[in-house]
């Protein structure tokens, strides 16, 4: 074994690897394999060297696979320090998910409703989520001022077409 315990270079990471790092290693390894296969299946170049567009992605896929294996090796060689933080995640995860959904919603309606309406709605909702329903008037006013300000700056000053 090249990487016997103790001889493992410290530069590669601490000896105590958290449990999440093991999951990460597995995920990286799996991703590396999938990417390598996908890279191999890329279309060949119609002109010039047919493998031209394939070499580089293929190399990247292999590199990720190697990195993933090394990470896995490293985490299995070290004692796993169990985390006790599970359970704490629930509290803030919901808020992040709501905001992400809000972002996706914004992307969905941006073209349909146009910049002004969709941004106003997005900002108002986001501000109300963080500041509570009671302060809705403040939230909506800030959203309105900001939306109009940005619209003026981009559309009129910088001549960038907003829908």
């Amino acid at each position: 074994m090249i990487f016997a315990r103790g001889a493992f270079p410290a530069g590669f990471g601490g000896i105590f690897v958290e449990a999440k790092d093991r999951y990460l290693a597995i995920a990286v390894l799996a991703f590396g394999l999938v990417y390598t296969i996908a890279a191999w299946n890329l279309p060949r170049a119609p002109v010039g060297n047919p493998f031209g567009p394939v070499y580089f992605p293929l190399g990247l896929g292999l590199l990720v696979t190697i990195i993933g294996s090394l990470m896995l090796l490293q985490s299995s060689k070290s004692q796993v320090k169990e985390e006790k933080t599970i359970g704490k995640h629930g509290k803030y995860a919901s808020r992040i998910i709501i905001v992400l959904l809000l972002c996706v919603g914004y992307a969905l309606v941006f073209r349909v409703l146009g910049f002004l309406i969709s941004t106003l709605a997005f900002l108002s909702a986001f501000l109300i989520i963080l500041n509570g329903l009671k302060k809705w008037f403040l939230s909506v006013s800030i959203a309105l001022l900001y939306t109009l300000g940005v619209w003026y700056l981009f559309e009129k000053v910088f001549l960038i077409n907003l829908p």
Binding site: A45, P46, V47, G48, L116, I117, F137, V140, S141, L144, L148, L159, I160, N161
Partner: protein, 324 residues
């Protein structure tokens, strides 16, 4: 109160935009499907400026560069703009070539031709210190060993800069055309690569070599025009004068996306036909050594159909055609 006011303001804005619906009522997006400083970029920026200068278009015109895939990226982008009256792109022979070589699934039929504006020609340049002084010397070296001369250009492999060189090489009697090294530089490093000796010959357009020729850093060996051009490049011989029976026309024109509304197509054919008659346009055409070649929508389309067949023949001979 504030909310009501805001609602009023917003509705007033919406009403205002609806009533101002005289085309074009918004800033226009002009797209150069290549990097800054290239032929497409120069053409569309010059058109945008001439339109402004002559006040033919008063709406702001924003030029965006979308390099990549020898124009394929810009062409793909236009497919996402179907029916949009505000997006216009410039193209030239690579539009047909990258389709014929199988590098893009889209063709000129996936755009709305508005007008052909100019003819440009190709130029073959070497560095000031190069051992080559005529294009025939380059061709002789290639005849001995096709790998001995490294050719560079801006367009992708199998596209315009590559093809125009191969056409000249073929006419000069070079065999093994496939063995000639061709490297594409799409981010504006082409001149640096030539001056630094990383490539031996640069195959590109007239505009690209004019500046460098005037500074005395390069020699232009030949141009692909049927006769000599005026201005800075007047001293450069044509391929035919050098005993190579080949020419290559680099037409450039403007296109809208597929399904561009008729009123917009009409507006542009009209406006562009007015633009090409102005002194301002004459001036820039002279400056860049272009040749005026206006041709409106329908005719332009027919022309494209015809040259597409011509290119097909050439590419088949060169073994680069990838259709049917």
């Amino acid at each position: 109160m504030k909310v009501k006011l805001a609602v009023l303001i917003i509705s007033a804005m919406i009403v205002a935009t609806v009533f101002a619906e005289v085309y074009p009522s918004k800033p226009l997006n002009f797209i150069a499907p290549g990097g800054p400083g290239g032929g497409w970029d120069t053409t569309i920026r010059v058109v945008a400026q001439t339109l402004k200068e002559t006040r033919l278009v008063t709406q702001p015109i924003v030029v965006t560069n979308m390099p990549g895939g020898g124009g394929g990226v810009g062409l793909a982008h236009m497919q996402t703009k179907k029916g949009d009256p505000y997006t216009i792109i410039v193209f030239s022979p690579p539009l047909l070539l990258i389709n014929l070589t199988g590098q893009t699934q889209y063709s000129f039929r996936d755009l709305t031709p508005l007008a052909m504006l100019i003819h440009d020609y190709g130029a073959f340049a070497v560095s000031k210190n190069s051992k080559y002084n005529t294009i025939s010397q380059v061709m002789d070296a290639l005849k001995k060993d096709p790998k001995s001369v490294k050719v560079g250009g801006i367009s992708a492999f199998g596209s315009m800069d590559h093809i125009q060189f191969l056409m000249a090489a073929k006419a000069a009697g070079v065999t093994n055309l496939k063995d000639i090294t061709y490297v594409s530089f799409q981010e504006g490093e082409h001149l640096a690569a030539l001056l630094g000796g990383h490539i031996d010959v640069l195959s590109t357009g007239l505009a690209e070599v004019t500046a460098a020729l005037q500074t005395g850093t390069i020699k232009v060996l030949a141009i692909t025009a049927p006769q000599r051009v005026h201005g800075t490049l007047a001293t450069v011989p044509t391929l035919k004068e050098e005993g190579i029976d080949a020419e290559f026309v680099n037409w450039r024109g403007l296109f809208g996306p597929l399904e561009m509304p008729d009123y917009a197509v009409e507006y542009w054919i009209n406006t562009l036909s007015k633009m090409v008659q102005t002194i301002e346009w004459d001036r820039v055409v002279a400056k860049y050594n272009w040749t005026k070649a206006f041709m409106p929508g329908k005719e332009f389309m027919n022309y494209l159909e015809k040259v597409n067949e011509d290119y097909k023949v050439v590419l088949k001979e060169l073994g680069l055609y990838k259709g049917e």
